[in-house]
Symmetry: C2
Subunit: 367 residues, 2 copies
C-alpha cells in the first residue's frame, strides 16, 4: 500500500487491505486519480484491459461477453511479440482490484497497430486475429460489446474506458487560452499549464423515455436514422443547459416525434453510455394521447410508431432469442417494421422489458 | 415569423402563432439556436434580462425575486444613458416568448461596467445602484437569486443564463487543435474553424442524496467548507464517467462522509444549478446505519451529523421565516450547529421539506 499523503484521504492502514472497505477503496481511487507519482508506481503492478485500433479485447467463444484482463507483465510480453507497446500515456484508470493483501489498479489501455508493409502476405485483419488469439480472446466492436455484455459492471467499466480514452485524446489544449493541458495519468482531469484552469472528462445527461398511451397498453417506439434495420427503441436526447430531466424528456419528444406528453416520471434506472458522445442516460416514462399527429425530425429519426404490448413482447422475444441481432432484416420495407428492440445491454431494453412485463404503471404517482 | 428553412424544423405556418403549440415553440427555438442569421434578424425584436459585472437585475422591493425583462429598445436607451452598450456577442438565447401574434426571443445579456475615473465623486457601487433604479430593479448576487426565486422557470432560465455566459467566455479555442472556435449567436454550441469539431455547453450530472436511518426518523446533513454558518444540507457530488446515478450517490457519500449506504432511490426531482460549475442535480434518498463512524473529507466538508426529524423541522421553519438567512449565526460554535437548511430555491430544500413532511418513505420500493 502506498502511504496516503493527500489530506482528503484518510489513512488506509487502519484495516488489512484484503478486507478493504468500500469507503477505503473509494478514497484510494480518489488518491490515485490525482497523485500521478503514486499511480506511476502502481502501474507495473496493475491489471489491464485492452483496445487495439478502437476494438475491444473480449472473451472468445464464451457464452458471456466480458473484457479480457491481463497483468502488466503478461501484456507487455504478449504485445511485445507483435512489436506493440503500451505505457501510462495511453492508459486510463478504471478501478481498484483486490490482490493478495493489497489493492492494485485496473487500467484500460488503447493502442494502434501499425499497418503491415504493402508487400506483406498477411493482412492487418489477420494480424489482429492472431493477436487476439495470443491474448486469449478476440477483438470486437465497442458498441456491440456494450449492447451484449450481461454484467452492468463490465458495461460501465467499458463506458468509462471508451469515454476517458476519447476525452484524453481530444483535450490537449486549454479552450480558454490555447496553452497545453497537462493530463493526469489517470485521465480523470487536465490542467492548463498557463492559466491553471482544470478540465474534467465531459459527458452529458440524456433523458430516455418510454412513451405509453393513457391505457398503458401501447408504447411509442422510434427508429433512428441509419440504425440497424427493424430495431425500434425509446426516445432519447441530450439535456440542454437549464433544463430539469423532466423538461428535457418533454422537449426531446416534441423535437423528435412532434407530440406532447405528460405524467413524466423517473424509472430510477440510469446507464453511462460512451457513444457517439459520452452520456449518462436517465430512464423515464411519459404518457401521450395516440390521436396526436406524429411528425418525426428527419435528421434524427426514420420513423416513430405506436405498438401494442403484444407486438413489443414479440420483438423482445425475438431479440432475446437472437441477442446479436444476426437475422436483421435486409429489405427496405422490412427495415421499417418492428422486429427487434435493442439488445439486453441497453437501458432501452431494460425499460421496454419492464413495461412488457407490466412492471411500469404509467399512472403511478411517485410519492 | 421567419420562414423556417432548416430541414429538421416543420413549417410553423400551420397554426396562428398566438396559439403556437409547445412542439412548434420547441422547434422554433431549435431553429434559432443553429441559424445565426435568423437569430440576428430577431435580436432587435427581442426581450432581454440583464447581468452587469456578474450581478443580476431583479425586481426591487417585490416580495418575490424575479428577473426584470426589458424590450431591446428600452434597454438600448436606458443603458445608453450610462454609456453602456450590448449586442448579440454578449447575449445568449434563453427562451421564446409569445408577442402579439408572433414569437420573439428572450435573451440574457451580460456586460461589464467601466470603473468611474479615480477623481470621480461617485463610486461604482453608487453608479450600479442608480443604474438599477433606472432599469426598475436592483442588482443582486446570482447565487442568492437562485436560492430565493420562487418560480422554477425563473431559476432554470437564470441557470441557463449563467451557464451559457460562463461557457461562451471559456470556449474560445478548440481543445483538440487550438484553432479558433466559431461561437453560435445563441451560445448553444461552437465549431472549430479548422477541424470542424462542434462543442456544446458543458455541464455534469450531480447526485444529491438525503440520507436517512433505517427508521426514517433521522437524517444525515452536512456543512460544506466555507458555507454560511449554521446551514446544513444534503450530500452532493459530480458523477464520474462510467457511473450510474446510484453508483455516483454511493461513491460520493463514501468519499465525503465515510459511510456506506444502501436502498438508494431516485426522488424524481432534478434541478439545473450553474455554480461553481454547471450541473444538473438529481435527487435521491438512501439509507445508512447510524452506528457507522463518520469521517468527513476535510477538503469538502466542515461536519456531517445525524439530526432528528424534529430538529430538521425546526431548521426548516427557521429558514422559511428568514428566507434570506439574514440572522445567520456568527460565533464559531454556532456555525457548526443546525440553524438553517438551504433556502426554498434549492432542490436540497425541497427534498428535506418532503422528508420533514413525511412524504419520503425510505423503504418504498419504486415499482
Amino acid at each position: 500500500m502506498p502511504t496516503i499523503r493527500s489530506n482528503n484521504v484518510v489513512s488506509l492502514t487502519t484495516s488489512p487491505i484484503k478486507n478493504m472497505s468500500f469507503v477505503e477503496k473509494v478514497r484510494l481511487l480518489d488518491y490515485w486519480k490525482i497523485q500521478d507519482s503514486a499511480l506511476q508506481n502502481e502501474f507495473p503492478r496493475s491489471h489491464l484491459v485492452l483496445m487495439v485500433d478502437r476494438r475491444l479485447l473480449v472473451t472468445k467463444d464464451a457464452p458471456e461477453v466480458r473484457m479480457v484482463e491481463h497483468s502488466y507483465g503478461e501484456l507487455k510480453q504478449l504485445l511485445g511479440e507483435y512489436g506493440l507497446q503500451f505505457d501510462l500515456s495511453n492508459s486510463c484508470l478504471l478501478d481498484a482490484l483486490p490482490a493478495d493483501n493489497d489493492m492494485i489498479p485496473l487500467f484500460g489501455t488503447s493502442i494502434e497497430a501499425a499497418d503491415p508493409p504493402e508487400d506483406s502476405p498477411i493482412s492487418k485483419k489477420d494480424v489482429l486475429k492472431q493477436l487476439g488469439n495470443s491474448l486469449g480472446g478476440r477483438f470486437t466492436d465497442i458498441r456491440m460489446a456494450m449492447l451484449t455484455m450481461r454484467e452492468e459492471r463490465q458495461r460501465n467499466l467499458l463506458a468509462k474506458f471508451q469515454s476517458l480514452t476519447k476525452w484524453a485524446a481530444t483535450y490537449r489544449r486549454c479552450p480558454k487560452c490555447a496553452a497545453a493541458l497537462k493530463m493526469r495519468s489517470s485521465k480523470s482531469g487536465a490542467e492548463c499549464v498557463t492559466c491553471q484552469r482544470v478540465y474534467y472528462p465531459t459527458f452529458s445527461p440524456v433523458s430516455i423515455t418510454l412513451i405509453t398511451d393513457p391505457t398503458n397498453e401501447h408504447a411509442l417506439l422510434v427508429r433512428h436514422r441509419g440504425s440497424a434495420g427493424g430495431v425500434f427503441t425509446a426516445v432519447a436526447g441530450f439535456a440542454h443547459t437549464g433544463e430539469s430531466m423532466a423538461e428535457c424528456a418533454r422537449r426531446e419528444i416534441a423535437e423528435e416525434v412532434g407530440i406532447e406528453v405528460d405524467s413524466i416520471r423517473s424509472l430510477d434506472m440510469s446507464q453511462p453510455w460512451p457513444m457517439p458522445d459520452s452520456s449518462l442516460m436517465v430512464a423515464h416514462v411519459a404518457v401521450a394521447n395516440m390521436d396526436q399527429k406524429i411528425s418525426v425530425c428527419p435528421d434524427e429519426l426514420e420513423t416513430a410508431q405506436w405498438f401494442s404490448r403484444h407486438q413489443v413482447r414479440q420483438a423482445m422475444e425475438t431479440t432475446l432469442a437472437d441477442p446479436f441481432l444476426k437475422k436483421l432484416p435486409l429489405t427496405l420495407d422490412d427495415r421499417q417494421t418492428l422486429h427487434y428492440i435493442p439488445p439486453a445491454g441497453a437501458i432501452a431494453h431494460q425499460m421496454i422489458r419492464k413495461w412488457v412485463d407490466g412492471k411500469i404503471d404509467c399512472h403511478n404517482s411517485r410519492m
